[in-house]
């Protein structure tokens, strides 16, 4: 490792970021060294402590630097509604887009047996305990609409139903402002099947 020049080490390290190939990594490295050493220093510090200190919430498994995340700790949130999502980014997206006032549970992926991801890899046991032990009345499924997301939704729905929770699923269909002609047939079929009375 020490034989590789530091500059090359930096470029290689930057490539762990999504979407960063050798060219962008080189550009970033030169930018930091030539124009913004202060920014680079700050990035290094924050990155080091983030990687060190941010873990998963012991209740909902989203990312947090505390034992229990800000949402789970908030007494104003409605504890009877639990929204099940795949990733911490989904929590962020729903928080920004909706007025949802319940709590979340982050699976950390979706059931994908062909990728080696089964119920055990997704914290389903923790979810079961959560649904058994607490005052959750309704479970909202907000998984993706891929085949794996569907399988995950079904698995959670079965579990929640057997534990006496009401189960709902977020609607999916034609995007707002979307012209039917350009919507793919799978989405259109889904939207058509999920039509509701107006």
């Amino acid at each position: 490792m020490s034989d590789v020049p530091l500059l090359q080490q930096l470029i290689d390290a930057l490539r762990c970021l999504p979407g960063v190939g050798p060219k962008s990594a080189t550009r970033m490295a030169f930018h930091v060294l030539e124009r913004d050493r202060e920014g680079g220093r700050r990035l290094a510090q924050v990155l080091a402590s983030a990687v060190e200190r941010i873990g998963h919430c012991s209740r909902c498994r989203t990312l947090t630097e505390h034992e229990v995340c800000r949402l789970c700790a908030n007494p104003q949130r409605d504890r009877s509604v639990l929204c099940v999502v795949e990733n911490p980014t989904d929590v962020m997206a729903l928080e920004q887009a909706t007025g949802f006032s319940g709590l979340y549970f982050v699976l950390g992926g979706r059931l994908s047996p062909l990728d080696g991801v089964g119920p055990g890899e997704l914290g389903m046991e923790q979810l079961r305990q959560r649904l058994t032990g607490e005052e959750v009345k309704e479970v909202i499924l907000a998984t993706t609409t891929t085949v794996e997301g569907e399988a995950t939704a079904h698995y959670v729905a079965q579990m929640a139903g057997s534990l006496g929770c009401a189960v709902t699923r977020i609607a999916h269909g034609v995007p707002l402002g979307g012209e039917l002609e350009y919507v793919d047939s799978g989405t259109l079929a889904h939207a058509f099947a999920g039509r509701h009375r107006v």
């Binding site: 999504p18 979407g19 059931l111 047996p113 062909l114 990728d115 080696g116 991801v117 089964g118 119920p119 055990g120 891929t146 085949v147 569907e150 399988a151 079904h154 698995y155 793919d184 047939s185 799978g186 989405t187 079929a189 099947a193």
Partner: protein, 232 residues
């Protein structure tokens, strides 16, 4: 692989590759199990990501040779089969079986129609074990036949016809062995029901499931199927 015109195919599995591309494991009507690279499928240029989903009848074209030819066209041939509830688990199980047991680029010409029939059936029967299990058993038998690992379920090891009233052990490498004892093993009725696609009642279904699992496990080389965990 030569350049192909649009061909019927199903996606068995999709895996992210780099930022916007997908490696797609396929079952093609004439190619059998194969794989292709869908470059930029998740990008804005080609929105194939939504279409390249399992259980959707597709028409695909690809170009190039070697490990990973390039997908060049993708159309939906018919609406996706709606696999509901447990039927979806069954579909994932079937896909995993193919990926685990079939080698890439072995044509297995009979496999595609068998697969289509299986997915059709999973989508149309009611998603309960009593209806789904016979569909899976039939597929498992056909798959083994296709791989040259077919089971002899009408004759025992000595060439005698299976007696529905007696019990047999089944050894994956030797076939059915008549048991002196009236306990243990599998009933002849289960073996014949499996062969005829006419399993009757929960007991025969349970025996058939145990038998097929035992035989498949031998061919899977001891590595368990992950999709089985969904059924627990």
């Amino acid at each position: 692989m030569q350049e192909h015109t649009l061909q019927p195919a199903y996606v068995l599995h999709v895996r992210r590759f780099r930022e916007t591309s997908l490696v797609v494991e396929l079952l093609g009507a004439s190619q059998g199990r194969c794989a292709a690279l869908a470059k930029g499928a998740l990008g804005s240029r080609r929105a194939w990501g939504n279409q390249l989903q399992p259980f959707t009848p597709l028409l695909l074209a690809w170009r190039g040779r070697g490990e990973l030819p390039l997908l060049t066209a993708c159309e939906t041939a018919a609406p996706a089969h709606r696999l509901n509830d447990r039927a979806l688990y069954c579909g994932l199980y079937v896909n995993e079986l193919i990926l685990r047991l079939c080698e890439r680029d072995d044509p297995h010409s009979g496999l595609f129609p068998t697969y289509v029939g299986c997915i059709d059936a999973l989508a149309s029967v009611s998603p309960e074990n009593a209806a789904l299990e016979p569909v899976l058993r039939a597929f498992e038998l056909d798959l083994l036949d296709e791989l040259g690992l077919g089971m002899q379920l009408r004759l025992d090891q000595d060439g005698e016809p299976i007696d529905p009233g007696r019990r047999y052990d089944y050894l994956p490498d030797q076939g059915a062995v008549l048991l002196r004892d009236a306990r243990g093993g599998f009933s002849g009725g289960t073996l014949l029901g499996l062969a005829d696609g006419g399993l009757e009642g929960p007991e025969q279904r349970r025996e058939a499931r145990t038998l097929m699992r035992r035989v498949l496990d031998v061919h899977l080389g001891g590595r368990a199927l992950k999709s089985r965990e969904l059924f627990q």
